[in-house]
Amino acid sequence: MDLKVKPVLRVNDQGTLFDPETGDTFILNPSGLEIFKRLQLGLEPDALYQELLQEYELERENFDRLLIDFASLLKPFQLAQDE
């Protein structure tokens, strides 16, 4: 799954995610923030997993499941879409 986040989104270090087109604000938890920042840089799932692996203990199977969960939270708000 290649997930592309909406390019105009703004996120700060506290995890506040702001959509300037709609004015909607969301709060990301620390794990979501780590992933979101890397998605913003355009990282694909394999590269994202490898990066996270350098800092955290993470099974690939768990990572894939969590990424799908995360995407399912972003998509209804038009914050991300499948490429």
Partner: protein, 351 residues
């Protein structure tokens, strides 16, 4: 740089829970980088809060309501002009716009500049003409029917999906869940604002507005969209956030370009959950939340004055997205003599 001194008369000092645009307009003018304003406040009531805000108007004059007769209001403005030499007049009440638009020649002859829409532009966007406006410019609008008697309402409601908004021709809008409730609201609205009363299909969604300024030649001098964050029981934004919605900006430019809109305007739209935008109103003046645009980098009242003065200001093309406004209420302490003096003489000096 020496700033030029300009005397600007501003109405709409009713800074209440349903605020007029006067005070935010004056705050914006006071922040002008191109001129130093002397502000003449025009107040319809002796308890309009803005009249007592010392740092806003330099001098405030009572003026008669337009409903008392245009000639009375015009004569009072000309009388004030004889004393103050008004360079630019910015009317901020819907009910004074039409009479002042029809008096622009007389005002201009006296040396008072305005920057108002033309009569045709004003009439075209009337609430009662909104369906035609939508058809002409290919814009989605809710079904709206102007009615002049309560007897028409059941028939209108039979042909329109409810609930309904019952709207006054200038201000006020109430939600009615059925024709019976709409009839009751018809009396309430018509007693205050006259006829017609507009029965409009209620559109569920997020309220988004745009403040914009057209130069009268089809160019957009500035535009800032806002999403309402907190709404009062009167439906007024108590808090809002500047957003960069490309659809809203595109729509605003399209309307200004096609109508050659002259002056300030506010577009009121509803964005539905399936992302359709319904235009519910066009207000032919600067809205009360205009200071958000100023705070976000577009001082539209300043640009309006410069246009009125015959200047050629540069259009704004950016603003700071994510800036918010949050209103608050504030108790001023005023001496009874000040209030009584204003009520009796019709004048209040702050200099």
């Amino acid at each position: 740089m020496n700033k030029s001194r300009i005397t600007i008369a501003v109405s709409g000092l009713n800074n209440t829970d349903n605020p007029g645009p006067g005070i935010p307009v004056i705050r914006s003018l006071r922040e002008s980088r191109t001129f130093q304003p002397r502000i003449i406040g025009l107040s319809y009531e002796n308890l309009e809060p803005g009249a007592y805000m010392k740092e806003m108007a330099d001098k405030v004059y009572m003026v008669p309501y337009p409903s008392q007769g245009m000639e009375l209001l015009l004569n009072r403005i000309l009388e004030i002009h004889a004393r103050e030499k008004i360079d630019v007049l910015i009317p901020n009440f819907d009910s004074e716009l039409l009479p002042l638009i029809s008096s622009t020649d007389r005002l201009s002859l006296a040396g008072i500049r305005t920057f108002l829409p033309t009569m045709e532009q004003y009439n075209e966007r009337l609430k009662s003409n909104l369906p035609d406006f939508g058809r002409k410019y290919d814009i989605l609008v809710p079904q709206s029917v102007p009615v002049t008697t309560p007897a028409e309402i059941p028939m209108v409601c039979r042909n329109m999906e409810g609930p309904y908004m019952v709207k006054g021709k200038f201000y006020d809008a109430y939600l009615a869940h059925g024709p019976e409730e709409a009839v009751g609201l018809f009396y309430k609205v018509s007693a205050k604002w006259g006829l017609p009363v507009i029965i409009q299909q209620y559109i569920r969604g997020t309220e988004v507005n745009v403040v914009a300024l057209g130069d009268g030649k089809g160019n957009t001098m500035g535009a800032v969209p806002m999403r309402k964050q907190f709404i009062t029981d009167k439906g007024k934004a108590w808090s809002g956030i500047a957003i960069s919605d490309p659809f809203l900006l595109g729509l605003t430019r399209k309307i200004i370009s096609q109508t050659h809109w002259r002056g300030g305007m506010e577009l009121e739209l509803i964005k539905t959950p399936d992302r359709r935008y319904f235009l519910v109103e066009i207000n032919p003046r600067i809205p009360a939340w205009v200071y958000l645009a100023t705070g976000a980098g577009q001082n539209l009242p300043e640009t309006l004055v410069n246009l009125a003065m015959g200047g050629e200001p540069q259009p704004y093309d950016t603003f700071e997205v994510g800036k918010m406004f949050v209103r608050y209420s504030f108790d001023m302490i005023v001496d009874a003599e000040t209030h009584q003096g204003f009520a009796i003489t019709g004048e209040l000096e702050h200099e």
